[in-house]
Symmetry: C2
Subunit: 193 residues, 2 copies
DNA sequence: GGTGCCATGTAACGCGTTACATGATTAT
DNA sequence: ATAATCATGTAACGCGTTACATGGCACC
């Protein structure tokens, strides 16, 4: 939903066309190496927003080149935008791919959870190193926003690393005490067979 | 990719049909209130995995009720699964919806970044409270996995809260020194007009 | 006066969602 | 019997992706 709402917000300032919106977004989040937005996403999102009645085409410029469809915010688009600003963003941390991988590694023959943890830790350290480097190369005057984003990511990576250590310690504790294999079990009301 | 790879992993143990896979997944991650997987996702994923040649239909049971298509892992499916276990999971923290909202609130009339931060902090505290409660109600013997997942989420929420405090302090520092409005600017090779 | 890149898009797919369908089993 | 719900799916959509199309402008 980031792109969708960012588009609404940019159109609240003034009507724009696709390329402008893309540039505005990348300027906001810090360029394509931080958060590259593909053109296609802008245009498909614009189409869907128009179908939903949140924006409308104001005019079509055609100065020699390709068409430039200028979009403007509608009333309901403004309402939706305000609702977005007024509400919080729910975290979706519960959906964690690494957690699934780790759990599966515990019940899969030939896959060591310690190896999975080790690999993940290596990747996290590398990401942390890259980010720290890029963060220290930023100019704090002009790129405050990017630094804040770097900080957030770094703090999450550090949390992930601490969690990995915790999990590993936990695994050591219960070593050779295998988890019951998670199995298909009927739930709900028991049957009186 | 969590569901997709979890399916591969479950089929590596033995061939199964859709409902079994759904139950196995929910047992793994801790039931529908933690990570509810909709049946539709299982079946569409199965279809795509079959098209990709990673799994194949082994047989079709039909004991009175609806068809039960039994899927089995193929050779390339096993390879893909092993590749997944052998690689790390990249974090995607750079895509942060709240960050976008915050940045937009800085350049939007009538929206206070302090208010946005306040709302978000409220939501994070509530999520933290709920999770802490649920965590302490779990049985550490039988639900170790869920506790680990709770811990990970809690650590991330705490990181988010610390980051919010940091951002707010930063905003106070530069108060009344507005950011330049992020604008459409041509990049790349400068033109020699 | 061709090569390459800038600016603007379309098509098709992948993962995940909500809404709906359908036949069997169980509760009342 | 009727209603709930279990067990198994299909259809259609939303957000995001990669791959491709196309017409002008800059440069050598």
């Amino acid at each position: 939903m980031s792109v969708r709402n960012a588009i609404l917000s940019f159109l609240a300032q003034r009507p724009r066309h696709g390329y402008e919106l893309r540039n505005a977004f990348e300027a906001l989040v810090g360029g394509e190496d931080t958060w590259g937005v593909k053109p296609a996403q802008i245009y498909t999102t614009l189409t869907r927003l128009e179908e939903a009645g949140l924006i409308c085409q104001e005019s079509v410029e055609q100065d020699g080149g390709p068409e430039k469809r200028i979009y403007a915010l509608t009333e309901s688009g403004l309402l939706e935008l305000q609702a977005w600003f007024g509400s919080g963003v729910e975290s979706e941390h519960q959906r964690d791919e690494f957690f699934v991988k780790l759990m599966l590694s515990l019940s899969t023959e030939g896959v060591s959870p310690y190896r999975v943890i080790h690999t993940q830790r290596g990747l996290l350290y590398q990401e942390l190193h890259d980010l720290t480097t890029r963060r220290s190369r930023s100019n704090p005057k002009t790129e405050l926003a990017q630094i804040l984003l770097f900080d957030k990511t770094i703090m999450h990576l550090e949390a992930d690393l601490r969690w990995l250590d915790m999990v590993e310690a936990r695994l050591d504790e219960i070593q050779r005490q295998p988890l019951p294999e998670p199995e298909s079990k009927p739930r709900g009301r028991p049957k009186k067979s």
